[in-house]
Symmetry: C2
Subunit: 328 residues, 2 copies
């Protein structure tokens, strides 16, 4: 199928476009600007670097690429979104597969109030999906940045961790006796993560002073907050909320569950800092958004870094740039 025919097929797979004056088919997409500030994020994923086509279906790849980009908007507390998708397709990839990728993206887009407004389709030796998402806010003060953490703040995380890492272990052949639902949840967490847009808006509105999505693992991501805010962050490993099945899967693979919860990443939960007096507001906001906040650490003056501590206060890992590897 020629590139332009594929583009037409893709356009048909996309739904009505709210706020879009001109969608795909012109030189550029034209959208009405609903807010004072735009919030934009770019996320690119590459075959055999970020996913394998042997374990990830085209639909998984499309869903996850958009989810990862939207998760960055969630972490800002931004509202609404348009998405622009650059698809670099390898010669061996069937048109049906390319369409399945876009259709899964479109389903996630519809569910999250996102409009796929434009893109580009090119040939490539390997599958690359680069997604640019744009959201809006009424003012820049509404948003939560990485640099707002202050000494005395609590550090919390939404939902549960380690599920994506455990899901990847299952995909990679780790054998473990898990109830079917639990296994499915771990696989879904890895293959079909949900961007927490409503949660992010609720938490930013309820007083989160700093926020980041858990894409690299809380150790690394808290390290980003620490460095950008110029503060030291302590996280207690034992406080990390493990998704059901993570401990069993880690054990079966000879890995530490804490490693999956703190270091594997791609859970796309939200990590936040906030003053203790906002604790109840944030818990309420999270509940209203259908999730919960677990308080896992605190912020203090010190070297801009993350300290991951075991129950006896020993440092398991320092999170700055580096990923958490082999915590002992």
């Amino acid at each position: 199928m020629a590139e332009l025919e594929l583009i037409e097929a893709i356009q048909k797979a996309l739904s009505e476009r709210a706020g879009i004056v001109r969608g795909p088919g012109d030189d550029a997409a034209v959208a009405r600007t609903p807010g004072e500030v735009t919030v934009t994020s770019v996320d690119a994923v590459v075959e055999d670097v970020h996913f394998r086509r042997s374990t990830h279906s085209s639909a998984d790849i499309g869903h996850k690429a958009l989810a990862a980009a939207l998760s960055d908007l969630a972490a800002m507390g931004a509202d609404g979104a348009h998405a622009y998708v650059a698809l670099a397709l390898p010669p061996g990839m069937a048109t049906t597969e390319a369409l399945a990728l876009v259709e899964a993206m479109e389903r996630l887009a519809e569910r999250t109030g996102t409009t796929i407004a434009g893109g580009d389709v090119v040939s490539s030796p390997a599958l690359v999906v680069a997604v640019t998402v744009t959201g809006w806010a009424r003012s820049e003060a509404e948003l939560a940045y990485r640099d707002g953490a202050r000494p005395g703040d609590l550090v919390g995380v939404t939902g549960e961790l380690g599920g994506s890492g455990a899901g990847l272990l299952l995909l990679s052949g780790t054998e473990v006796d898990l109830p079917g639902e639990r296994r499915t949840s771990l696989l879904e967490r890895h293959l079909r993560p949900e961007p927490l847009l409503a949660t992010g808006r609720a938490l930013a509105g309820a007083g989160a002073t700093a926020m980041i999505d858990v894409s690299d693992g809380v150790a690394t991501d808290a390290g980003h907050l620490a460095r950008r805010s110029g503060v030291e962050i302590e996280i207690e490993a034992a406080a990390l909320p493990l998704q059901a099945g993570v401990a069993e899967t880690a054990l079966a693979a000879g890995r530490d569950p804490i490693e999956l919860a703190a270091g594997a990443g791609e859970d796309f939960e939200l990590l936040l800092a906030a003053p203790p007096e906002r604790r109840a507001d944030l818990e309420r906001a999270a509940r209203a958004a259908g999730t919960r906040v677990t308080w896992i650490g605190s912020v203090r003056e010190g070297e801009p870094r993350l300290l991951l501590l075991d129950e006896r206060g020993r440092v398991l890992a320092l999170g700055g740039y580096e990923h958490l590897r082999e915590p002992r």
Copy 2:
């Protein structure tokens, strides 16, 4: 060099960011919204598909990727621009090369009033550069779309054509005796095309009813205008303004100069339709922007397609979807 260090080096290479509340380094970039509507275009280029690293330097690749994306905004008559860049870098590519690519992009960005506001850097088996550019307009009526051509309109093109195709022939080893400056101009046209942002705004303001940038060649691009506008467009091959040196280079390569002018593409000139009564205004606007308009054809009722005619009125090519190939 680790990915995050490279990202830091890239950030240092970028200049101050007008209108950007938060640039690279947070989950997403935050920009103030200057206009009522946003205009967004995505352009992806892939190694060995759109360029070869043997003939295109890293700086050429970066420049051209941004230029191609900005050219789409130019074709809408959009104002200002932010750029978001996804860089997928192959293992063999040195950090100095990646930086040279970004620095060339930054130089073009500065010259065109564009701000590189964010992006992503990932590993990849092949070099892929995906650029998303965003511009603004005060209202959607200010913009020129592909579907505005009406029967009776004139069809014009800015500047000169065929230079990019001739430049590619020179890069590919075509031997031809050309004055040094002329050779350089052809190579520059291919390697370092200029997006005509000011020209596009001027032409949209002076009454162009439809506009598109010449990225695929006027035959194909006029075909897009015809199809989107539901009109037939006739272009006279003999009227196409050839860049100096195109005829000689085509001859040396055994190619028809018209093929390069109408079919090779990547000249990034602007092709427009407008009612005859706006002719003088458009010529004046083009001159004020430092270029000229050559009138090469006309619009009439009929099958939505492009007819490229020779001097005796014979059809050399039909432009719809297909690229112009081997016109006889």
